[in-house]
């Protein structure tokens, strides 16, 4: 039997309902991190699915970076509370979880996103809610967004050294295979420019100029059989093969290429091979000698990297654990943000952005890294390296302080603070 509602109960209920409606609005005015002892911070990475070959090392780097910051007393006296969502290699999850991080968890910063398709899927959410965001992975360049900081490498940093090396060492005829989404298509446009110019954005004086043979092939991420592609490569007889292949399914390309007996006939260069630790999945006899260019390899010898490697091996419980570029860049992303917060003395986006735009530089496991104020991109020392037969890389040549020129030329976020775009070649 139900009692009729009396006046006192009615008022109590009404106050409770009204209160719950009002409180979130208040919270939005005063974010969670302005009140509690802990500061929520968010990470969106693919722990499962085809992209997790990059996601897993990036998660390892993320977790270690946050744990390290907390172990040293946190930031501004507050511990970080890392909130991670597994985006499952499904683009639809990124905008969904980004909104959740911003509105429900009220994080001070979001790190993550792996494929460029996933990044572009939730960058509008970042812009809509004016959320500070770090993208910590190699990509096709050109993102020019006041709210976004990039600690990954871009075409100039990789393709310049690769093109010059391949022209000198292998020859002028290149064949290109690329993943069929925005990363592969835009990377191809930049590669066309770098290759034809002999390794620069503008024609490089002297030296050889590259040309393309056969086709450029854009291959969907779920394709696992490359038989026809491999035969077409043989038809075109290139001096060198450029690979912009991405994800777990595309690893098979290298195996099938070697199985066709081409490993010692057509050398491969790539801007993507290795940052998902493909050289661990594949056998040395399948990929030894493949050349890539990254700011980080586990083999780099400096004090910070020795500490970093020992700590990561301990964290993963594996003495042979290979960190790779994706892990190191995620680690760097968090530390760039932490340095911004410390310099600003605040978690507020405007203050942290301003601090990061003052040109923060520090000694990371990959050596000295510097945030370029105008483009929000990172300046690194790049290393050209070849896969060795010990499940690792041999560094061939190092290029100190390479700027992400293609993006810096077009992007000035200090002059144009309202820019939220991605530039690409026509």
């Amino acid at each position: 039997m139900r009692r009729p509602l009396n006046r006192r109960e009615f008022l109590r209920t009404a106050a409770a309902v009204g209160g719950t409606a009002v409180v979130p609005t208040l919270l939005k005015l005063r974010p969670a991190w302005a009140q509690g002892k802990k500061v929520p911070v968010g990470s969106l990475l693919d722990k499962t699915g085809g992209i997790n070959i990059y996601g897993l090392p990036a998660i390892a780097g993320t977790e270690y970076a946050v744990a390290e910051i907390n172990a040293k007393g946190g930031l501004l006296g507050k511990q970080l509370e890392l909130i991670q969502y597994d985006t499952q290699s499904d683009i639809a999850n990124f905008p969904k979880f980004a909104k959740k991080l911003i509105l429900e968890d009220q994080v001070a910063v979001i790190h993550g996103g792996i494929t460029s398709a996933s990044r572009e899927s939730f960058r509008p959410v970042i812009d809509e809610y004016k959320q500070l965001y770090f993208y910590n992975i190699i990509y096709e360049g050109g993102v020019c967004d006041k709210y976004v900081f990039v600690t990954g490498e871009t075409p100039t940093q990789q393709m310049g050294p690769i093109a010059k090396y391949a022209l000198k060492k292998y020859g002028t005829k290149a064949y290109t295979v690329a993943a069929d989404y925005n990363f592969g298509h835009i990377s191809w446009k930049w590669w066309d420019i770098f290759w034809r110019n002999g390794g620069g954005l503008e024609p490089v004086a002297g030296g050889k100029k590259g040309q393309h043979v056969g086709k450029v092939e854009f291959i969907p991420l779920d394709v696992t059989d490359f038989n026809a592609t491999i035969n077409r490569i043989q038809e075109a007889k290139p001096d060198v093969l450029m690979s912009f292949l991405v994800g777990g399914a595309h690893i098979n390309f290298y195996r099938q290429f070697a199985a066709a007996g081409l490993k010692n006939k057509i050398p491969i260069v790539s801007t993507t091979f290795g940052f998902g630790n493909e050289h661990i999945v594949l056998d040395a006899k399948e990929v030894e000698g493949l050349v890539a260019c990254y700011p980080y390899f586990d083999e780099l010898d400096n004090a910070q990297n020795r500490t970093f490697k020992a700590a990561m091996k301990k964290k993963m419980g594996d003495p042979n654990y290979y960190i790779g570029d994706a892990g190191a860049e995620s680690y760097n992303g968090w530390h760039f943000w932490a340095k911004g917060v410390q310099k600003a003395g605040s978690f507020e986006r405007e203050a942290v952005t301003k601090a990061l735009e003052s040109g923060i530089e520090w000694d990371s496991p990959m050596g000295r890294v510097k945030m370029d104020p105008a483009s929000h991109h990172t300046i690194f020392t790049m290393h050209l390296a070849a896969v060795n037969n010990k499940r690792g890389w041999n560094v061939i040549e190092s290029f100190p302080n390479i700027p992400p020129t293609e993006t810096m030329q077009l992007c000035d976020l200090i002059k144009n603070p309202n820019q939220h775009t991605q530039f690409q070649p026509k």
Binding site: G50, L56, T172, I219, D283
Partner: protein, 310 residues
């Protein structure tokens, strides 16, 4: 087209057909014959690949031992699933679909828990041979041979053995078969197990050329269903004819260069245009369009059409 290119195109077509046959053969028994929409078929494929991985990586057995073990292990898994779940749902097609989808998710989850969600590889040793300007992996020929062997085995099994006769009788008319003294539940179980085992064999054979990852079945299940549906109700003839038709179209379209684009950049050495297309992408589109057309024209599938004509 020069002679070696022609030869390599033939090999490519053969390879496309081989892969479709491998994917579809087990499903043709389970879906084509038993009318069970088994959404866990992709995970039987995955289980086959992981059996090989376990045998090679952890038990240090030779590759071929792992490949022989895989169909047996997966047939065992199939029989267990038939006994526990599917047997209770015969004659309820939608429920079976839901249940096998659940099994599919469960298997993906189990494999992920055991092996982790990482991509792993199984390197293999066979060499390659020369076709004019091309070198071609020998393993592709091995795959085709195995696929042909499996088809022949299934044919002999169903055509010439007592088991085959009983299984066919059971599928054609369970009540009559039961009245004639055939243990029909056992026949259903064994046929399902055989279908699972064939998927396991396919997973094992393809494991060395693809990345082994718990979700790999998802990449193949759609093509397996398309091949079986286009093939129609007759298991072997249907699978072979539809795999041939679809594989032929896919491989051929993958070859064409579809259009040219102007490239950006400073065109130092001409030409500045480059061909786009002729990729797996267009091959897949062609396969799907062709499958839709075939089903519009031959709603019973290729073998159903032949059967009607006779």
């Amino acid at each position: 087209m020069s002679l070696d290119t022609a030869a390599i195109v033939v090999l490519e077509i053969l390879n496309s057909i081989t892969i479709l046959v491998l994917l579809a053969l087990g499903l043709a028994l389970i879906f084509g014959m038993m009318r069970i929409v088994n959404l866990a078929q992709g995970e039987f494929f995955t289980a086959g690949a992981f059996t090989v991985l376990t045998a090679v990586r952890f038990a240090h057995l030779p590759l071929w031992v792992g490949m022989l073990l895989a169909p047996l292990v997966v047939a065992g898994i199939g029989i267990a699933i038939e006994r526990l779940i599917i047997r209770r749902l015969y004659g309820r097609p939608l429920d079976v679909m839901l249940a096998t989808w659940g099994v599919s998710l469960l298997l993906i989850g189990l494999i992920t828990v055991i092996f982790g969600a990482v991509t792993q590889g199984i390197p293999f040793a066979l060499g390659n041979f020369q076709v004019g300007r091309y070198s071609y992996p020998e393993y592709r020929i091995v795959m085709t041979t195995v696929a042909a062997g499996l088809m022949l085995g299934v044919y002999v099994l169903f055509r010439y053995t007592a088991f085959g006769r009983r299984a066919r009788a059971t599928i054609a008319n369970p009540e009559m078969a039961s009245a004639a003294g055939i243990n029909t539940p056992r026949m259903f179980m064994l046929t399902f197990g055989l279908g699972a085992g064939l998927a396991g064999a396919a997973g094992a054979i393809m494991a060395p050329i693809v990345g082994v990852v718990p979700t790999m079945g998802v990449l193949y299940i759609a093509r397996a269903f398309i091949t079986v549906v286009v093939g129609g109700p007759v298991v072997l003839v249907g699978t072979l004819s539809s795999a041939s038709a679809l594989g032929f179209i896919e491989a051929l379209i993958s070859r064409f260069s579809l259009f040219q684009i102007e490239t950006a950049g400073h065109c130092a050495p001409p030409p500045c245009a480059i061909n786009i297309g002729g990729s797996a992408f267009f091959g897949q589109i062609a396969l799907l369009i062709f499958a839709i057309l075939l089903l519009r024209l031959l709603p019973q599938g290729i073998s159903g059409f032949w059967r009607q004509r006779r």
